[in-house]
Symmetry: D3
Subunit: 236 residues, 6 copies
Amino acid sequence: MHILVINPNTTVGMTEKIEAAANRAAASGTQITAVTSASGPVSIEGYYDEALSVPGLLKVIRDRADFDAVVIACFDDTGLDAARCVTDKPVIGIGEAAYSMAGMLANKFSVVTTLARSVPALEHNLMKYGLDRRCARVRSSEVAVLDLEDDSSGAYEKIAAEIARAIADDKAEAIVLGCAGMTDLASKLSQQFDRPVLDGVACAVSLAEAMARLQLKTSRHGGYAPPPQHKLEVQS
Amino acid sequence: MHILVINPNTTVGMTEKIEAAANRAAASGTQITAVTSASGPVSIEGYYDEALSVPGLLKVIRDRADFDAVVIACFDDTGLDAARCVTDKPVIGIGEAAYSMAGMLANKFSVVTTLARSVPALEHNLMKYGLDRRCARVRSSEVAVLDLEDDSSGAYEKIAAEIARAIADDKAEAIVLGCAGMTDLASKLSQQFDRPVLDGVACAVSLAEAMARLQLKTSRHGGYAPPPQHKLEVQS
Amino acid sequence: MHILVINPNTTVGMTEKIEAAANRAAASGTQITAVTSASGPVSIEGYYDEALSVPGLLKVIRDRADFDAVVIACFDDTGLDAARCVTDKPVIGIGEAAYSMAGMLANKFSVVTTLARSVPALEHNLMKYGLDRRCARVRSSEVAVLDLEDDSSGAYEKIAAEIARAIADDKAEAIVLGCAGMTDLASKLSQQFDRPVLDGVACAVSLAEAMARLQLKTSRHGGYAPPPQHKLEVQS
Amino acid sequence: MHILVINPNTTVGMTEKIEAAANRAAASGTQITAVTSASGPVSIEGYYDEALSVPGLLKVIRDRADFDAVVIACFDDTGLDAARCVTDKPVIGIGEAAYSMAGMLANKFSVVTTLARSVPALEHNLMKYGLDRRCARVRSSEVAVLDLEDDSSGAYEKIAAEIARAIADDKAEAIVLGCAGMTDLASKLSQQFDRPVLDGVACAVSLAEAMARLQLKTSRHGGYAPPPQHKLEVQS
Amino acid sequence: MHILVINPNTTVGMTEKIEAAANRAAASGTQITAVTSASGPVSIEGYYDEALSVPGLLKVIRDRADFDAVVIACFDDTGLDAARCVTDKPVIGIGEAAYSMAGMLANKFSVVTTLARSVPALEHNLMKYGLDRRCARVRSSEVAVLDLEDDSSGAYEKIAAEIARAIADDKAEAIVLGCAGMTDLASKLSQQFDRPVLDGVACAVSLAEAMARLQLKTSRHGGYAPPPQHKLEVQS
Amino acid sequence: MHILVINPNTTVGMTEKIEAAANRAAASGTQITAVTSASGPVSIEGYYDEALSVPGLLKVIRDRADFDAVVIACFDDTGLDAARCVTDKPVIGIGEAAYSMAGMLANKFSVVTTLARSVPALEHNLMKYGLDRRCARVRSSEVAVLDLEDDSSGAYEKIAAEIARAIADDKAEAIVLGCAGMTDLASKLSQQFDRPVLDGVACAVSLAEAMARLQLKTSRHGGYAPPPQHKLEVQS
């Protein structure tokens, strides 16, 4: 089993953290290949970054054939629909994976993400997946993505404070961490708050393994039909 | 890893078919224990059967402690919310597992279930999970659950005919089979129709393994809070 | 006219309170028969209790034929869909009755129920009935069901405080009391807060009379089709 | 008990038919006063007619004080919100009453109304009440309102044909008749199609009695707050 | 280009303010005719006023033929559907125009209107237009419509305070002013709060010009089909 | 007034057709600059093409400052949210413009687009804008985008046939043409079918003029907040 985990931003340190999380989550025998996108922004915070990171992400998938499933390791599920057009292997976004699992562990969850500018894209995804019905609120901790790489930034405390508010005000029964860069915080936060705190990287890797083991394929009809060959050769 | 798979009806032959499907889906090293409920109807077709099968199902969970996750192997996700109150291990319904995975492989799917009387309960679940947004239509094949156990019933042909209609009329990009008893038909139907045809038993077992490996737990706060001990001892 | 009012928990004192409320609500000439379920939990607070109380409730309906309509006197509308499969007489839940009437008296209402653990099941029902569009919020007063039977529990004050918050914060134009055990408080609270405060027992009895007088019947097609005889004879 | 039933169009023959239906539905001891609006169109088919009929309807309510509840006997629930501002007695529309009761007898119902031009207003009401979730489809029989007063118009046959389509295509478990002028057809159609066929006049009268007996009042806060006296004196 | 702008209440001073705003918004070469309704309430605050103002508004449209588009200058979009039945020219409500444009400038907006009694009608419109998905909250400033005509009423400050709350609590990225009488405040508030503050009169006039220039027509089929001539001649 | 109209695909002939349509729609005095994207696919049919066209589209906007509003002339509203992050001028998608105007001319419209693969992205946009409530159905004519540039392709007839089905089956009161390449067909189709047939290019240009004249700006807070300078300089 080989899972391709793509960090669609260009920050290698973040890919390393994601790779470590993916390896912790994977079953024995699963090979994780974590790839940093060759082009795009250093972090993905909102619609603009998201748009610029998609071509690099699609190129990673097109250039490789040796995987059983793909994980897109950005919490806004960057380029998810487009990626499903270029492979018949399962493609899982870390946002959708975390929301889906949270909805199976709790009646209601809240999301704690980085900056306010990232909130609408997440709300939009939740609506598309139907999981806005289970999500009480998407909250921003006002921790920038790259501050998560900096131990002195006070990121943990800010995120914990926002989780405390989600529990008190939203009656959140579970919490979803809204950034790939928070992947190393989930376990400690889960203990601190005595309820599920989900990290999308782990959820998506495990779900991708599950779907690959079942030999499930992305549909080749309708919206995910493969583009004609001449279009696949175009680079943006 | 030990997954408890509960058939909430009392037909042992159906449990055996479910067990075989669960073992096919499971990772090596996973132990599947398939249990037939000790009380309840011989098949679950609609609200009444569903209601009568829940106490027996809950008793199976309460009586055992040696599992890492539970799968409820009836497509209407019988007693799912109640079951989540009696264990902190993940509890996955085969309906919700199949819908969730279908929504990650296709923009739009249709469900093909057994009898018309079963349709409203499934529609209701889809609304609750938010996946009515991705489900084009829930269709009945007018094959009774126990006819699925009878090779001469023409069940395969009736189900295939309904799938053909779902593709033509609903533009379904994927199909979800709406009964645990259809678990052995998924692979052949998937090939025949050249698109994902999902069986909930396989989806749920694999998802349960994934969530158990991640050590995710059902929330103990809010709607799934454990009942007080004196209530757990009551039998209906 | 004969209305069968079923208390699906096993607390006789609560049945008596419900019976008194039903008699106050009924038209002259209506006979109320209030029945305590023979099996199940002492109170219904959340999904688990709800599930265990359904078989006893269904047995009450199956064992009697001499009624014109049935009222299920638990605010989470326990077993409502299943009950509609076993009789062609109207079956009304006290939750749905109160929500429906509140939606005809006010643009927006809030619900004040007992414990936080009961909230998700009510939210789920509201979504199913479509009345989440009219319900501003489901609030818990943190008064346990059986504390409502105890005059020294301070229940009235806690409920009144929660209503005050619903008016201030939710702009609730009406209030629905979210437990059969609150039936005797509605009139006083309605006066105190100068707006409709609805008790589901009264609403449901009156609605059941209305539907019975019109000789309306539960549909025998689709989701409420009667189960075959051999299934009706099964006990869970 | 005194129920004021208002026909908001100016066709006296239709008021007489409505009055007869109301009397058939009413409990013994209930006095029905059926009033024809003094101004407005001869029939209400769509938004324009609806708008012009409201001032006359409001005048009927303002001019009378001797009632316990009001029924608005036009299926598009003409002026319902405005009417609730001018009295604290319950005001029930025949559309909302029929939809609500249908939703308690069936998982899914279809509406059969008069002309295509009337359909959007009904769909809009269903969305507002949340009952679009239970309504499979609003269908027009292309029978004009006043043709319902003409025995030779073939109205019954056209309506029956549309009901047959609703059962076959929409899987409707119950039917709601979408015009006050169809009130005399419900019983025969219900027998013919062996499932509930609801007439809004009967439903609303019976529901109004129920709410009046419970002494429920329209909320005086928020959207239904009474207008100041100087505004009540204005005539359009 | 000739735009007919109708103030559906009878306060001439308000028409004058609306006319000035319409002229500021209009392209050069556009003629604005602002008309005060000849009948109806002095201000429109909620359902009752709205209902009484519609016949006068429809009469203005029926009596004139020399326009290219109509603007209904009351924020609850009084009589909008009915008005579309009596002309094939575009008819635009100031509420729908402002909501639509706000949804193109911001992910999420809040509405600040006059009195609490007006809120439900606006919420209802938002749901009908689908823009409840983009509207965070409808807030009342508790400034009566006619107080907006009185410079000493402190209206500006109250509205500004409510906008500040919408930004802090709702995370509103834009604000819609919920009354035609606030038309002269938009520009100053927009500067004060550094984000779009939309006035419906300007939005609707500009949108009406746009649609008229494109020679778009209201559909004559379905819900906006013109009533038969004998009905157009009826006055309420 | 200067409107920048961007064709996000690289087919110059299509830009020319769009430019002509934009000029027909524009007010006198409006300058239209139509720009072909320098990179991306030759046509946009579905998610993959859409993703690859966004960076080129964003570059056009970043490279120019001399416009009052932007129109994105691809019916799937390619990169709309990202584009709003890079300018404070209004940015209008031709899809959203056409849907919004259709919703003001008709209760219900259907969309007729090119290929089945494009349908899900449009359905997704409609849900995001809330206009799925007004859209009866998104239909594909199975005319590829570039076949619209070929007079011998029979495109008109195929589109007309699909419109006929939309009217018969969906009861569509108006039609939205779902591709920028259909811009020259709207007028003839509108006459043929005697109801509004909307072209998004015209709608968006006119709406962009309207919003620019009102000096409305895209919000700089929340989801459309401008990215930091160092990110704006990144090219994908």
